[in-house]
Amino acid sequence: SQKIEQNSEALNIQEGKTATLTCNYTNYSPAYLQWYRQDPGRGPVFLLLIRENEKEKRKERLKVTFDTTLKQSLFHITASQPADSATYLCALYGGSYKLIFGSGTRLLVRP
């Protein structure tokens, strides 16, 4: 069956450290993968899109990698801040241009 897996346990890190979140998928062959941020009680906010022929994409303190062989994307936040605390959702296109979301990983950055 098709699955998108993100760590359901919260990631708890110290301010200033690099946060690394994982997104694994099975039985998909996405050409594109996106990452969104969601704060409690709010809608998701788009962060980054990466194409299958891109190994890495950066935006300010954010970096995303996409390994189609491992069927995995990693999302990094460098020099993390308490304001980065949120749930981060991985999403990919599962066919028919329909965006399929993972269940998200909650990030907690301690001051």
Binding site: A31, R42, F46, L89, I100, F101, S103
Partner: protein, 116 residues
């Protein structure tokens, strides 16, 4: 900055009642999406519109849910009758380009539905 508007933000209803949610996408956005998000899970697509036409409603429980976007602008999602299992966040999103593209989606704040 343009935003997707949704109302109401919160709705409490009793089972078997009818509820309706409204969404106004960012001006000029041709594609509109309705998602349902259960607590602790990611959003799940219910229906996608391209202008006023339904592109995908394969996950919409059509026996009780309906959606329309009559003039290709704002949209309404209705549930009748509501069931306990419908309690969730209902999210509307829009995208500037049409079906067949991979652009970002802009989400509204959502409507939190509680069915008692």
């Amino acid at each position: 900055e343009a935003e997707v508007a949704q109302s109401p933000r919160y709705k409490i209803t009793e089972k078997s009642q009818a509820v309706a949610f409204w969404c106004d996408p960012i001006s000029g956005h041709a594609t509109l999406y309705w998602y349902r998000q259960i607590l602790g899970q990611g959003p799940e697509l219910l229906v996608q519109f391209q202008d006023e036409s339904v592109v995908d409603d394969s996950q919409l429980p059509k026996d009780r849910f309906s959606a329309e976007r009559l003039k290709g602008v704002d949209s309404t999602l209705k549930i009748q009758p509501a069931e306990l299992g419908d309690s969730a966040m209902y999210l509307c999103a829009s995208s500037p380009t049409g079906t067949g593209t991979y652009n970002e989606q802009f989400f509204g704040p959502g409507t939190r539905l509680t069915v008692l």
